[in-house]
Amino acid sequence: MEQLTNNKIKTEEYFINMGPQHPAAHGVLRLLLTIDGEIIKNVDPDLGYIHRSIEKMCERDSYQQIVHLTDRMDYLSSHINNGAVCLAVEKALELEVTDRVKVIRTIFDELTRLASHLLWWGVMGMDLGALTTYFYAFRDREMINDIFEETCGARLTMNYYVPGGLMFDLHPNFVNRVKKFLVDIKEHLPEYDRLLTGNVIFQKRTKGIGLLSKEDAISYGVTGPVARGSGVHCDVRKTHPYHAYDRVDFEEALFTEGDTFARYKVRIKEMWESISIVEQLIDNIPEGDIKVPTKAVIKLPKGEFYQRVETARGELGVYINSTGTKNPYRLKFRSPGFSNLSVLNHISKGGKIADLVAIMASFDFVIPDIDR
């Protein structure tokens, strides 16, 4: 009592484990927090709980097999990940895929981004105590998954892209179902805005929280919606266009505030842009072959090949070092989640534990993407 009245309460720093099983981590990520009261002094991530050594496995696999490993990384961007390896192999073989393939891949990539952002939106609300959003978002995500399932036969690990093109042609229902979905989602997104974006509690928990400056974002190699919330022009679809992105009209979502709310706004805007891209292409899918023939055993020429794509989380890079055999000598995945995680300590220091949950929600981590 004497201590309290004298205003000299002794505090001391201590460690606390957040994870590896924590509902706000959405996977097995362990953060070792150093805290003083409720103030975070240091965040030390401990990784590897689901490390599968995909890069080592790639060294013994053929290039067709490697494609299958990529959607085990960021499973919410599986089409986009598949595309990264396919593009790298096509670049090395100097293979030009048909227009039909390019357009279909663009549509699938954008539907994937939409599905991923929808899941993020639902989960972000849930992390901050608004459970309703989760069910709303999953309703729409289901529609996308059903569309994918009809064409690829899978709902999560797609494996639809192959080096040289696509595994199957589109299902006859595809175009109509996508159009119907676009009508629905355009009705739903404004509803979602009314539900969460303007909510006072949500805004108080996100505005001004987890500030990330533009310089830090670049220095820490942060990409994707997180960097664009800090005003970094880094959308690979714009800076290094691939697929059919050079022929569609869309705007890069950029906000300069750099806080959790800005990252939220980036993703909401990206959903609208994705809808617009799909709308521009869905009626103009060119006729043509769905696959350029490749040899059964693909051997890349000697050399180094790098391909970058924009997944729902940021820049995914595939570095292939080939010695001219049927396996890569070294293959590296530069995953967006891993680089984005490196800034977490920097921006959550000095905040409260509850803020860390909001920040992590706005980073949209997928742990297998970090661990690989």
Binding site: D216, S219, G221, E304, F305, Y319, V343
Partner: protein
């Protein structure tokens, strides 16, 4: 800036650099380990180059030598360069850390240490990031053998 112009600027800093564009879409420069930090700092700070974005840091086992590959880009000019550094010492390989130049390197270097066993001088927190602290060996090296967990062809 074109690759030739970049090469011209970088060439003037040291005579121990090797340039190559063969089999790669980027300009590659191989740097001796002792000059790595200095060259990297210049690459970032020279106003005409401004390589401020380290987008990929790869460890690699070349058989005899271990090495690290740095993919750099300038967010302002959008030109690229690839810096390579090698060390022949497989027992106790050491390379200078660049985490003070590009902060993201802190994490990526921990990954390289974990899988290749390359120690980075002046790294603030070099530890096993993915594997347990008592793990023996460095799994992404070509001579790593684990008969239980690896499928060897």
């Amino acid at each position: 800036m074109e690759n030739q112009e970049i090469q011209k600027i970088v060439e003037s800093w040291s005579d121990k650099l090797e340039f190559s564009e063969e089999g790669s879409e980027f300009l590659n420069v191989t740097v001796p380990a002792e000059e790595l930090h200095e060259i990297c700092l210049k690459l970032k700070d020279t106003p005409e180059l401004k390589f401020d974005y380290l987008f990929c840091l790869t460890g690699i086992d070349w058989g005899e030598e271990l090495g690290v590959i740095y993919h750099l880009e300038s967010t302002e000019y959008r030109h690229n360069i690839v810096v390579k550094v090698k060390t022949a010492d497989r027992e106790n390989p050491k390379i200078d850390s660049v985490n003070d130049i590009w902060r993201t390197a802190e994490f990526h270097e921990m990954e390289v240490f974990d899988f290749f066993g390359i120690r980075f001088n002046n790294h603030p927190n070099l530890k096993r990031l993915f594997l347990t602290p008592d793990w023996e060996g460095y799994p992404l090296r070509k001579d790593y053998v684990d008969e239980e967990n690896m499928v060897i062809k």
